[in-house]
Symmetry: C2
Subunit: 194 residues, 2 copies
């Protein structure tokens, strides 16, 4: 019995099922929110309801996992960005993607909060990981000379929080959001490169 | 009876009482919120409870008036600023004051929202007035050459919304808020004046 205390790595089909359940739940959420029946999620994912509950004991756990996955996906995209985009542009691109994703994330976060989940605690690890990525992007952009050397990650995060909250607020027009962000980015650039 | 349909201007003592009630309510709110008994507000204002109810028929009306007054006060300060500060600096000063006031305003706004008040509608006129002031400050700062000519009021408001929401969020440290705002302001400045 002692051996079972060490969790085995999930088999490939279990990982696949988990991903399909999450994708299905994410797809139905915008129309039905947390009131979506778990049966509907299982049907769309093409798995039995027992499989859903094996991966996510409660509906809150399922929606929490969607939120964490959204943040992890941004971190994955960051990994891809850093290998395909030059360091100077990559920082601004990652900042923009995080802001663009904010409005969608908020709907999940609000639904979870209403269901009594401590969203901050639930997303803490994924959020810290994403911020660490952003910090690395900042350092590289500063080395490349596209971001001022006197700017630190705390300032960047404060600006990011403001931009994300503004993006969520009243569903701000996408064009205006981009124009407002352009001003913030100009403020982050060394004078000579504006 | 027709004459009484035209509201008479409030007498000086009525205006004074109204101001004292608002000041008392604003002073007790941070510790007691909307659950503050109206009796306590009346006692602190040095008026009878009937006087409170004559000015503010419901507690919601009282707290709504506090919120409106906070916004009006910012507009009043703007009037003073424009006569004592040069146009270039005045725009950044007004922007900063609105952000600094945001955290305090939010507590009232949230309490009112929970009490079922449509905060946006309640503060619409005062908010529009303040934004008109900000627009005039922006135009003067652009004439004075301290704000870029290619920036419009929509962008400024989008940045202001983000800065206010960030200031409210997790009670962001005042020093960090100022350092983040400095970056936004640099983005608003013409390159030559940074």
């Amino acid at each position: 019995m002692a051996a079972s205390a060490t969790p085995r790595p999930p088999r490939a089909d279990a990982r696949r099922n988990r991903a399909r359940i999450l994708a299905a739940a994410e797809a139905v959420f915008p129309s039905s929110g947390v009131s979506t029946p778990v049966e509907e999620v299982a049907r769309r994912a093409g798995v039995g309801i027992g499989t859903v509950y094996r991966h996510f004991p409660t509906k809150e756990a399922l929606f929490e996992a969607i939120l964490v996955r959204r943040i992890e996906r941004l971190a994955d995209e960051a990994g891809a960005l850093s290998s395909t985009t030059d360091a100077g542009a990559a920082f601004f691109e990652l900042f923009t993607r995080i802001v663009e994703d904010a409005a969608g994330r908020k709907a999940f976060a609000d639904a979870l909060s209403r269901a009594g989940v401590d969203v901050k605690a639930a997303t803490s690890a994924a959020g810290q990981n994403l911020l660490a990525e952003l910090g690395a992007f900042l350092a590289r952009a500063q080395q490349a000379g596209t971001v001022r050397h006197d700017v630190d990650l705390d300032q960047v995060v404060a600006l990011l929080v403001g931009a994300c909250l503004a993006a969520e607020h009243d569903n701000m027009d996408r064009g205006l959001r981009a124009r407002a962000l352009a001003i913030v980015f100009d403020g982050l650039r060394p004078e000579a490169s504006r």
